[in-house]
Symmetry: C2
Subunit: 191 residues, 2 copies
Amino acid sequence: MKDLINNIKSSIELSTEAEAYLFSISKERTFSKGEVLIRQGQNVNSNYFVTAGCLRSYCVDKSGKEHTLQFGVKNWWISDYIAIHNEESATLTVECLKESTVIEFNAKKLNRIYELYPEYEPFQRNLLERHVVSLHKRILNQLQLTASERYELFLVQYPDIELFTRNYHIASYLGITQESLSRIRVEKAKK
Amino acid sequence: MKDLINNIKSSIELSTEAEAYLFSISKERTFSKGEVLIRQGQNVNSNYFVTAGCLRSYCVDKSGKEHTLQFGVKNWWISDYIAIHNEESATLTVECLKESTVIEFNAKKLNRIYELYPEYEPFQRNLLERHVVSLHKRILNQLQLTASERYELFLVQYPDIELFTRNYHIASYLGITQESLSRIRVEKAKK
DNA sequence: ATAGCTTCTTACCATAGGTCAATTTTTTCA
DNA sequence: TGAAAAAATTGACCTATGGTAAGAAGCTAT
């Protein structure tokens, strides 16, 4: 929880009251590899701030294939924002890829922080702006790069993630099959 | 400009002072087909709210291919948010696809509205949240749908856009070539 | 340590979509 | 309105990536 408070305080001034509120609506939790935090189809009540470990959010299409939307690593937030924003049940599943510690927020209560402590707004705005920028970049990369270029870039963006992800986690993030990723790795090793 | 004020007032309460500030940092402008509002490589000073018409933002890759990031239609904002947020020169070009009316904001001055009139924050937060949600959906669609499924979805999302876009505008948004889009249309017509 | 999973690799073939080039259609504007 | 330019279509061929299936390698739990 300290991690998050520091993270927030590095960009805005947070009153003791607001800090106390954040405490009161959250809970530090630890999940082990394979555990599911949010399950496609069920209600989404939580928004998670990752303090350690690695998680991912993905959806499963009609043919059963998984598609990874996001990896959640230290100091990132993860949840199903489509569901939260539209007040629908989850379109995504969030699962834990290695032992992780997160701060679980009640999404509805977190959303009330803006009325209660408007000082929090700039923090969230900055977060959302950065998120939009990274999504824009991801879309442009998907449009213009080949699979192996996307993989190279992925390795730069998430340097250690290969240590605790399965091949198909990465492949399904890049938009290719695990077999193709395997072939790409072989080609890369040849050089 | 009325359009925008109404748009804002439909979700938040806006003081007369804040309204006056918005007026003071913006200017209604009209662009005709083919005009460029922001050019890749140059400085980005503006953020545009579209009141009529249609624009698009795109980047050009090393091999000269264009990739459309976004279409800007009535009541949407368009600019190069990568450049604005990172304070870099433009990675995108924004061009006008048909005669359009926009409200041009000075991006830096618009950014000061949060200190001056914090009441504006919830409006922007809602906008950013919706934007994030639509980008998440777009990424998931790109990962799981075929080219022709993406085209069908596109037609639902932007019903009238085919009237004033070129084939390759749409193709480069969907991540295919214009030739492929042409073939997809032929197949669709056969049914 | 080893049985039993899960994941990864590899080989072969299939296919969606890309490339190039010629032709037709549409748009633009003098 | 009609010539020139731009865009769209089409055909022949190509390539990156997918699908399937079998075997190899890695984990996990007793």
